[in-house]
């Protein structure tokens, strides 16, 4: 079965393409990409007026399974991913049991393949039980499909263990993703330490809680000649360190989340638990620095840090509320609206941040529309609007601070292995359907 994506504006940073082209898909692969392809047997998918790009890859997702199926499952999370324009999501290992050995990696792969929605790329933990003490079986996990290693949700706090982890991951050939947080500065923290925490009487999490570890890990990277990826960078100072380290030629990359780009600590006022997230929403100077990093190349990736929670875990006293924002369903429309429409980010850079770079950092064969590559493709619109209605989320997590917002930007088709699994307005389909 052949499919022909007609007349879309094709953006592919991996080939430096930004022009109106047709794409022919044969079997699961891209077989031709050029102007005005004529192929009589092919099913035509009209992409006129839409952007066609390599499938978006979310490097940072919490799918909650195994262990927290009341928050999210692999099935619901990957449906949300498709509806949100992601063809693949990397799942963080803070499940129960944690993904710290190959049997959990295999479980996640099997479950996601059975579900057949977006691809799941398991991230294994750096240390056993995510305790930060002994290295987990990274080699075995990599063999069965782990794409990276992280103790996300917690940092690798010990400098000694981090050093060993960086050295060992270099041996395995997969990157370490650090959740940069100095635990003793974090303890009991609720929101960014700033004017809002002072006014609301909530314990603050200072920016230095992040920057101390970022700085330390850059030094450890230098020591080990390894590479590292920093998850969800939230402060200007962290980004300054990363920028300088990159200029020195160190192999460092980092991601930011949509909510840190769009919101500040002000969103917490009124004790809004939906804006309670870790790392916390920071100050406007931080937000502006992250945005600048998007433009100047310091930021490599935008990742959602999709963190679904049950209603009860947010509908409670602020101090008891869980950290996190459910993001997969609406992250891309929010980013189109904020980055492309409001701030004029070139689309080629936009796609690089959401597809090309995550694929490169995780060493995946995705994130490109080159002939011969797997046909994972996202088709989106700049003209159509998306209204945020958590009740319509495919994710079980309805916890978003963006409820009711109208974003100009919409996902039209999400194509995995050449199959249109998401078509705007219809429920996501499985590869097996």
């Amino acid at each position: 079965m052949k499919k022909l994506l007609k007349n879309g504006r094709v953006i592919d940073p991996s080939q430096n393409i930004d022009e109106t082209l047709d794409i022919l898909i044969e079997d699961k692969y891209i077989s031709k990409i050029s102007e005005k392809i004529i192929e009589k047997e092919a099913e035509i998918i009209d992409c006129a007026g839409f952007i066609v790009s390599p499938g978006f890859i979310d490097m940072h997702t919490h799918l909650r399974e195994p262990g927290f199926e009341y928050k999210e499952t692999i099935e619901t999370g990957t449906k949300a991913a498709l509806a949100g324009g992601f063809t693949a999501v990397a799942s963080m290992p803070n499940t129960n049991p944690p993904c710290d050995n190959d049997s959990i990696v295999r479980f996640i792969k099997k479950k996601s393949e059975e579900a057949g929605f977006a691809r799941v790329l398991p991230i294994g933990s750096v240390t056993k039980k995510r305790e930060g003490k002994e290295l987990a079986e990274m080699g075995l996990m990599a063999k069965f499909g782990a794409v990276a290693f992280s103790d996300d949700g917690s940092p690798v706090a010990s400098a000694f263990v981090m050093r060993k982890a960086l050295e060992y991951s270099k041996t395995i050939g997969k990157i370490i993703i650090q959740h940069a947080e100095e635990p003793t500065l974090f303890e009991g923290g609720q929101i960014h330490e700033g004017i809002v925490s002072t006014e609301l009487g909530l314990k603050g999490i200072p920016s230095q809680c992040e920057t101390i570890i970022v700085k330390r890990d850059i030094d450890l990277c230098e020591l080990t000649s390894s590479s590292i990826h920093f998850a969800h960078i939230s402060t200007k100072e962290s980004l300054d360190y990363i920028k300088k380290a990159k200029e020195r030629g160190l192999k460092i990359s980092c991601e930011v989340t949509p909510h840190h780009l769009i919101l500040t600590e002000e969103a917490v006022r009124g004790f809004n638990t939906l804006a309670k997230v870790n790392p916390p929403l920071r100050e406007n100077k931080d937000r502006e620095a992250l945005l600048e990093g998007i433009f100047n190349g310091t930021v490599d990736v935008i990742a959602t840090d999709h963190a679904p929670h049950h209603k009860d875990e947010k509908d409670c006293e602020f101090g008891f509320a869980a950290f996190g924002i459910s993001s997969l369903d609406i992250a891309v429309p929010a980013l189109i609206d904020f980055l492309v429409q409001k701030n004029g980010l070139p689309l080629i850079r936009f796609v690089e941040l959401l597809s090309t770079n995550p694929a490169e950092i995780l060493k995946l064969p995705f994130g490109t529309l080159k002939v011969g590559s797997v046909a994972d493709i996202t088709v989106f619109s700049l003209r159509h609007q998306t209204t945020v209605n958590p009740d319509k989320f495919y994710s079980l997590g309805k916890n978003t601070p963006f409820e009711g917002k109208k974003f100009s930007g919409r996902i039209q088709y999400t194509i995995v292995e050449g199959k249109v699994l998401y078509n705007y307005g219809k429920p996501p389909k499985s590869l097996h359907s």
Partner: protein
């Protein structure tokens, strides 16, 4: 004139006129405890629930008496010996209480923002009787009332708040209240107990007690929760008292007619010496007496509003 709000959650969201209106109303209630029959029928038939998730003597008693003296029916509910110990959430407890149709829940809670959360969930009035390290609005109102009573005004007075500013809901509420009423507010304590962005709330920060009280009209000492913070916030009680304990000697540079306040409970020999606490400048027990009048005023102004709106609806 009733208050145009359902709840009293914090001072920050109060207008200056509302504060003055509460203070003025409280004046009218001052003499009730001096009568033989210490009761007026203002809130007859209304139900007030005192819901205390944290230990309290003064505030709970004060609210209860205030409600009783306005003829409201009151019940007390504390986290010990209730379903809370069986794991019931605050929301469920409140919804259950709500089903019993109270007119007002007075909430004291160890978490900042708990009353704000409840206020969105129930339709009876919520009065914040202290939430975590956030605010304690009726304390600030009774403090303002006491200052007004002793000084005749608040505008341009220098008020020094001394002690654990970081963890103090009394400090926050007082900073907002005194600023709205035009006082010049200073805070003083070891830097470990001063929140980082407090200057942005329009206060002067001092780490030296003598300088902080220089020319002060009012000095307000706050309780040090010594069990909880000793060791990291300051090395020892002995050192704390040496540097930040309020003594007659250290008060020398304050105004001659300075008044000394404390929200209680006091740690004598920690944040305040017995000489000062019991001395001629101390108005600490007046604060307690005034507290009742303020709480009567708050309950009256909130609940009378409910009565009227229900009657007219």
């Amino acid at each position: 004139m009733k208050l145009k709000r359902k709840d009293l959650l914090d001072i920050k969201s109060l207008e200056k006129e509302e504060i003055l209106h509460i203070l003025e109303t409280a004046k009218g209630f001052l003499d009730i405890p001096t009568r033989t029959v210490k009761k007026v029928p203002a809130l007859k038939g209304m139900t007030v629930i005192n819901c205390f998730y944290e230990a309290s003597t003064r505030t709970r008693t004060s609210f209860e008496l205030a409600a009783k003296r306005l003829s409201a029916d009151t019940i007390n509910f504390s986290s010990g010996g209730s379903s809370v110990e069986k794991g019931e959430t605050l929301l469920d407890t409140a919804l259950n209480l709500q089903a019993m149709v109270p007119d007002c829940i007075i909430l004291r809670h160890p978490l900042s923002g708990a009353p704000h959360f409840l206020a969105k969930k129930v339709n009876c009035s919520i009065v914040n009787a202290g939430d975590g390290t956030h605010e304690h609005p009726t304390q600030a109102l009774l403090d303002a009332f006491t200052i007004m009573e002793k000084k005749g005004k608040i505008e341009n007075l220098i008020v020094t708040i001394l002690g654990d500013i970081l963890h103090s809901r009394v400090a926050r509420s007082n900073i907002y209240c005194l600023n709205k009423l035009g006082a010049k507010v200073r805070v003083c304590g070891p830097q470990t107990l001063i929140p980082k962005y407090i200057e942005d709330l329009n206060v002067e920060v001092h780490n030296n007690l003598e300088k902080a009280v220089e020319g002060a009209d009012v000095v307000m000492a706050l309780r040090i929760q010594k069990e909880r913070i000793k060791g990291t916030a300051f090395p020892s009680i002995r050192e704390y008292f040496e540097l930040f304990g309020l003594t007659e000697e250290k008060l020398k540079k304050a105004k001659k007619d300075v008044i000394i306040m404390h929200p209680g409970p006091m740690n004598r020999g920690v944040e305040i010496s017995t000489d000062v606490a019991d001395g001629p400048f101390s108005v600490i027990l007046d604060q307690v007496a005034n507290g009742m009048a303020i709480r009567m005023a708050v309950l009256y102004l909130l609940l009378i509003g409910r009565m009227k709106s229900e009657e007219t609806s």
